[in-house]
């Protein structure tokens, strides 16, 4: 049985603050597009069933498993991958914290960890969130090397840096609005 051809879908989306256009099969996953069409191989693929978190990217600021997120659905949306965390070569505080705490070994889970942690600190963490809340939120990302403790330490460090930054700005004269 010869299947009727399936029309590709034209997708214009923003990836790491840059607009890109691709033509994809409807069934194409975002991880495939990123890795094979856009050369953004920082996004890693492991379980491919949304259980490990290695392929996590942010779409409009929310974490998604790019293994199972269809590319056509990113039309008109903003995608952030690990390659886009640092701006103009300046590392994001979460990246700095991961280096400072040795929060990775093989590094394969790291892109997903960084983006999940970044989304948590930016969107989810309440002001008084403790490490328990952080652990619950991160628990869908697997790491086989570090035993997790250094990653928790790194995210708490980044959280502290973030708070200090917010308080720091608020504390500057003339900045109270």
């Amino acid at each position: 049985m010869a299947d009727a051809p399936i029309d590709p879908i034209a997708v214009v989306m923003t990836v790491n603050r840059t607009e890109v256009s691709v033509e994809v099969e409807p069934s194409e996953s975002l991880s495939y597009t990123l890795r094979n069409r856009l050369g953004l191989t920082g996004t890693k693929l492991s379980c491919d069933v949304q259980a490990c978190g290695a392929c996590t990217v942010l779409v409009d600021g929310l974490p998604r498993s790019s293994c199972t997120f269809l590319t056509y659905e990113a039309r008109g949306r903003e995608v952030l991958t690990v390659e886009g965390l640092a701006v103009d070569g300046v590392l994001h505080p979460v990246q700095e914290a991961f280096i400072a705490e040795s929060a990775f070994q093989c590094g394969f889970c790291t892109p997903g960890m960084l983006l999940t942690a970044h989304a948590y600190l930016a969107n989810e963490a309440e002001a008084d969130a403790d490490d328990d809340d952080l652990i619950e939120h991160m628990s869908g990302n697997l790491c086989r090397c570090t035993g997790y403790l250094p990653i928790v330490a790194a995210i708490l460090r980044a959280q502290k840096a973030r708070r200090a930054q917010i308080i720091g700005f608020a504390g500057l004269p003339g900045r109270q609005g």
């Binding site: 659905e73 990246q95 070994q105 928790v152």
Partner: protein, 1103 residues
């Protein structure tokens, strides 16, 4: 590599009516697509196939949450995250909001919808069960009409609802709770992802009269569909006073009505028990006015203290004699790994690169009758389709470093489910994956041999009928154990003294059987290789740990000299021994050879499990002590399942035999380990192998002996441990460690011997491991004219941090900052030979060769400085940064510039080690891991949680303390998974849990409150500056320590890992029922049956 679903098209209706039309016209080939978090998974795994997905997300208004008079209406397309954060839901149904905030993980919650969840009707789900007790009503839109379906009538079966063709779930209406209506839900889970049981309760309380006037009870995840039991509900009604008496009966009926499943999550028996426990807790908690906890479990303590301690250890006091060594300098691969720039094998793209995918055997043992590849070959984009017989023109078509039994593609028969049979090479991966589906293979099935007991029985069907050649790198394994004409692969014996005499004079003998499970290392990065075969030269990019053994394997296939094969190992995404020796490199190489283009092979995780798993061990162990309690003899019999190929099982078997000895002084030892070929997936190395297999029986039995003698487990070990310098294993290196002192440290870290509060307990375990593998290798360094240094080493960076450590050694030797040293690792075209990367050998062995290379270069530079200054070389002192003669100095770079009269010239230094002299004494390093574990338990459910993990890193010298520490935290947590729940299970011929969804490794939530490592630095090792082998040790000791801690907490002896809650519960029940422990049997039937046809011994039921 990804799974590729059958191609589909997307329809994007603007209205529900339009969607309904599309559904009707599409028939069985069309379905609704909401969040897709379950649908797409099922389609990718081939379980479902649709031509059209009707994307409902484009229909406005389907994801809103609205408050109505007496109910809340949640749009079917509202995501779990939206519901969890909705102020309306949080106010009206706080428990539902909390549950929605705990579905799967943040990614699924951002994408998955409540409506999609209910319509998919996957049994292992939570919301449907909770909504049952809420009397939720589902509003279903159909062609031209809408109807309301009570949730209790919505699910028709697993993955089945009452939706008629063209009907679409529009919204979920949940009646507002009246005063006195209380709702509770308890999820029992073995993994965040997947509940194994959900119990939901609603109580309608008349507080004035202290009566329950209404109730709803639901059970889910353990039954084919969520079930409500009106009969059980009726029993709950009545006075609050007598509720405790009515609860057991209600639970009984609820469980009866639930049609509980016996499955991999647990027996129906256990689930019935859990329903009783959790219904009781929920109801009494609600009556007491408590806020019900969804997941229950232990109360987590803040990690603050543990993290502070981790930070403190990182500030390790600098050692004044070193400038770099001994400091926790940041990893050299940090920036690359946090920015996504680090290149792994699957990221390698070569010009004109093609992609290969294999068809695997669906049967365990069969002759291949025919293979029809016609349709696959005709697919556009397919370059070639290859079968086993196409490989017969190769110089060799089988590979294996120990035994050449590993088929690249099955030849005339298949030997396990998952064996590669046909390879498709195509322009891209999706094309290869889809062409695979068009291949037909006919098999004639043979009797499968699934267990070592069956495999070793005289007369068992042969897995390998022809004798295979031994491989090129057997290492120090006992090849004599391979008995051709049988399935026996190994027979390792460790014996000394008169075992019968020793047992005859013993006053106490302890005996038992133990089981260490089949595990999967699960490095996140699956096996991958990219190979470019150009006729007379082959380049291999691989994530194999052993660059140089793979070079030899690939050279042997084509009969090429070693110089014509270049193997490059980029960053490896975790190895843990699972990536030792060749896996997919030969396959990628022959694919490239066929199509004359570079070819990438990248496996899925499921394929990776089928390529290599770890060995299990069934152990019988007997220990004897004399009247003073001194240990005098140990006797063991061990059977291991090597699967269809030898891979590295011979070494695993050998190490299991040597590591069963332990650092105790035995008069007599009689240990025998046999591994057998079976029709299961091939088994090989996994971190700390042998140590882990040996320490479970060895160290649990130590505690049993201590108990029998009325001694404290730590004191009893101290009485029997050997001292530093003792040759406790005849013919091997004397022990270079203070094991007693180390044990005291760990015990102190657990507040030993203070008794733990009820329900909690602690235990210790230790082992000594002969680490370091074969002491052969070399390194080179180049000192450049500007004084900077390049290090060349054949070791691979797996994450263990050797790139950082080895750079530190060179930086130290030349007094350079880290940035002035660059290391080039594991590229056989460039870097010098390294035997392997594993067995904790890199720091001590490659570190030493780099140290020697640095010193060699300095000696050359000394000669050059002598010529420049025109003085004898002896008058020159070598300082870190250059040469000195009296007051004058010459930095290294200046020596090179002046000597060669070329500023960019360089000097090369070389260093090597070989197994002679001190390196000839085996093992190069004894590793003596000791772990202490504290557990909290729930004696009613058998659940337990590790709350403390304490170990000692007796490392000689910590070149980088944070990296040393990190290895221990990582290995303790990794092995905790095997204590908790990890076990590969065969169901007949099939591996039943070879996916990340059902093979459950530790998660963040498993992290104990306290994790501590004591770093011990006595500079008593063979490595640079006195470093000792380190890194894998604690993988070997956590499992027995947990067993011992569970005994301390609950009084039960756990002999079989993993110690799942159900197994603990069963042990507790047996104990309560007075079931006596197994009587001593002597050498068991399952062992003697491997030698005597008349003996009886059944295979172990490992489930």
């Amino acid at each position: 590599m990804p799974h590729y679903p059958h191609p589909f098209r997307i329809a994007q209706p603007a209205t529900l009516a339009e969607a309904s039309e599309l559904l009707l016209s599409g028939g069985p080939d069309a379905t609704c697509y909401a969040g897709g978090s379950e649908l797409l998974l099922a389609m990718k795994q081939g379980g479902l196939r649709y031509d059209t997905l009707i994307d409902l997300k484009t229909i406005p208004g389907l994801d809103t949450i609205e408050e109505h008079n007496d109910h809340l209406e949640i749009g079917a397309l509202a995501t779990h995250r939206t519901i969890a954060r909705s102020p309306l839901v949080r106010a009206a149904f706080p428990l539902l909001a909390r549950l929605e905030g705990r579905i799967a993980n943040p990614r699924v919650r951002s994408t998955g919808t409540l409506g999609g969840n209910l319509c998919f009707a996957e049994p292992h789900s939570d919301p449907g069960t909770l909504l049952l007790v809420h009397d939720a009503v589902l509003h279903v839109a159909g062609p031209g009409m809408e109807r309301a379906v009570p949730i209790a009538a919505f699910t028709a079966g697993p993955y089945e609802t009452v939706l008629e063709p063209g009907e679409i779930l529009r919204a979920i209406a949940i009646p507002t709770l009246a005063a006195g209506q209380l709702v509770g839900y308890r999820r029992v889970q073995q993994l965040e992802h997947r509940p194994m049981l959900g119990v939901a309760v609603r109580l309608d309380l008349d507080l004035a009269r202290q009566r329950i006037v209404g109730s709803r009870l639901g059970v889910g995840a353990s039954s084919p569909i969520p079930v409500r039991s009106e009969a059980a509900e009726a029993i709950l009604l009545g006075d609050l006073d007598g509720i405790a008496d009515r609860l057991p009966r209600a639970a009984e009926i609820l469980a009866d009505d639930a049609d509980l499943l016996d499955d991999a999550d647990g027996s129906a028996d256990y689930k019935r028990h859990l329903i009783g426990v959790h219904l009781g807790r929920l109801v009494s908690g609600l009556i007491r006015g408590e806020d019900p906890e969804i997941t229950g479990g232990r109360t987590r303590r803040s990690l603050k203290a543990t993290i502070e301690e981790w930070e403190e250890r990182r500030q390790h006091t600098p050692k004044p004699e070193f400038s770099v060594v001994g400091r926790s300098v940041p990893r050299t691969d940090g920036r690359a790994k946090v920015t996504g720039q680090a290149v792994y094998t699957a990221d390698v793209v070569l010009p004109r690169m093609a992609h290969a995918k294999v068809l695997r055997s669906p049967v365990a043992h069969a002759r291949i009758l025919s293979i029809d590849t016609t349709a696959a070959k005709a697919v556009e984009g397919v370059l070639d389709v290859m079968v086993g017989s196409d490989l017969l023109t190769l110089k060799r078509h089988l590979f294996g470093h120990a035994i050449r039994d590993n088929a690249i593609l099955a030849m005339d028969k298949v030997t396990y489910v998952g064996e590669p049979v046909v390879a498709v090479i195509a322009e891209d991966e999706p094309t290869a994956a889809r062409a695979i589906e068009l291949i037909h293979v006919a098999y004639d099935e043979l009797e499968p041999v699934m267990t070592p007991e069956a495999a070793l029985r005289p007369g068992a069907p042969l897995i390998h009928e022809e004798p295979h050649d031994f491989g090129h790198a057997p290492g120090h394994v006992n090849l004599a154990g391979r008995k051709f004409g049988t399935n026996q692969l190994t027979d390792d014996v460790v014996a000394w003294g008169d075992i019968d005499a020793a047992f005859a004079r013993a006053t106490t003998i302890v005996e038992g059987e133990y089981y260490y499970p089949m595990a999967f290392a699960y490095p996140l990065e699956s096996y991958a290789a990219v190979v470019d075969h150009r006729g007379d030269e082959v380049t291999v990019h691989t994530n194999g740990q052993h660059t140089y053994t793979t070079r030899r394997d690939v050279a042997d296939l084509f009969g090429l000299p070693l110089s014509r094969v270049r193997v490059i190992t980029p960053f490896v995404g975790g190895g843990f021994g699972a990536k030792s020796y060749s896996k997919v490199e030969p396959l990628a190489a022959v694919c490239s050879w066929r199509v004359r283009r570079p070819v990438r092979v990248e496996l899925t995780v499921e394929e990776t499990v089928l390529t290599t798993r770890a060995l299990d061990a069934r152990v019988w162990l007997r220990t004897a002590a004399d009247a003073d309690g001194k240990l005098i003899a140990r006797q063991a019999r061990v059977l291991m399942n090597s699967g269809a190929f030898a891979q590295n099982s011979m070494l695993v078997s050998a190490k299991t035999s040597t590591r069963l000895v332990g650092p105790y002084g035995w008069d007599a030892v009689d240990i025998r380990v046999r591994a057998a070929y079976t029709n299961t997936s091939p088994a090989s190395s996994y971190r700390g192998f042998g140590g882990a297999h040996a320490s479970l029986p060895g160290e649990v039995q130590m505690d049993e002996m201590a108990e029998r003698l009325g001694r404290d487990p730590v004191d009893y070990r101290l009485l029997n441990l050997v001292d530093r310098g003792h040759v406790f294993f005849p013919g091997k290196r004397p022990l270079h460690a203070d094991v007693k002192g180390n044990l005291r440290l760990v015990a102190g870290g657990l507040d030993w011997p203070r008794k733990e509060p009820p329900g909690t307990g602690k235990g210790v375990a230790l082992v000594v491991m002969d680490s370091g593998a074969v002491p052969v290798g070399r390194s080179e360094i180049r000192v450049h004219g500007d004084g900077s240094v390049t290090v060349l080493t054949g070791s691979a960076e797996l994450g263990q941090g050797s790139q950082t450590i080895l750079t530190m050694v060179a930086a130290e030797e030349f007094g350079l900052p880290m940035e002035r040293v660059r290391i080039q690792m594991s590229d056989s075209g460039v870097t010098p030979y390294a035997r392997t990367t594993g067995a904790d050998r890199t720091t001590i062995m490659e570190g030493t060769t780099i140290l020697l290379a640095c010193r060699d270069a300095k000696e050359q530079l000394q000669e050059m400085a002598a010529e420049i200054w025109e003085i004898p070389a002896e008058e020159i002192e070598l300082e870190k940064s250059g040469a000195r003669n009296g007051d004058r100095t010459l930095p290294w770079g200046d020596i090179i510039g002046q000597y060669f009269q070329a500023p960019d010239m360089e000097v090369s230094g070389r260093g090597h080690i070989r197994p002679v002299g001190d390196w000839g004494l085996i093992p190069p390093s004894w590793e003596n891991p000791i772990v202490g574990v504290r557990v909290a338990t729930d004696a009613e459910t058998g659940e337990w949680w590790a709350t403390s993990l304490v170990d000692v890193a007796d490392i000689g010298l910590a070149i980088n303390p944070t990296l040393a520490d990190g290895m221990d935290i990582g290995s303790m947590m990794q092995s905790l998974g095997i204590a908790m729940r990890e076990q590969l299970v065969y169901d007949g011929q099939q591996l039943s849990n070879g996916s990340v969804l059902n093979y459950r490794v530790p998660e963040f939530t498993d992290l104990p409150d306290e994790v501590r490592t004591f770093v011990i630095e006595n500079r008593d090792g063979m490595g640079p500056y006195g470093a000792k082998a380190h890194g894998d040790g604690s993988m070997a000791t956590v499992v027995p320590a947990v067993s011992n801690a569970l005994h301390d907490a609950l009084g039960v002896r756990m002999h079989r890992a993993p110690f799942t809650p159900e197994r603990v519960w069963r042990a507790l029940r047996d104990q309560a029922d007075g079931v006596p422990p197994d009587p001593p049997t002597g050498i068991p039937g399952w062992w003697t049956a491997t030698e005597h046809p008349e003996a009886h011994g059944d295979a172990l039921d490992t489930r």
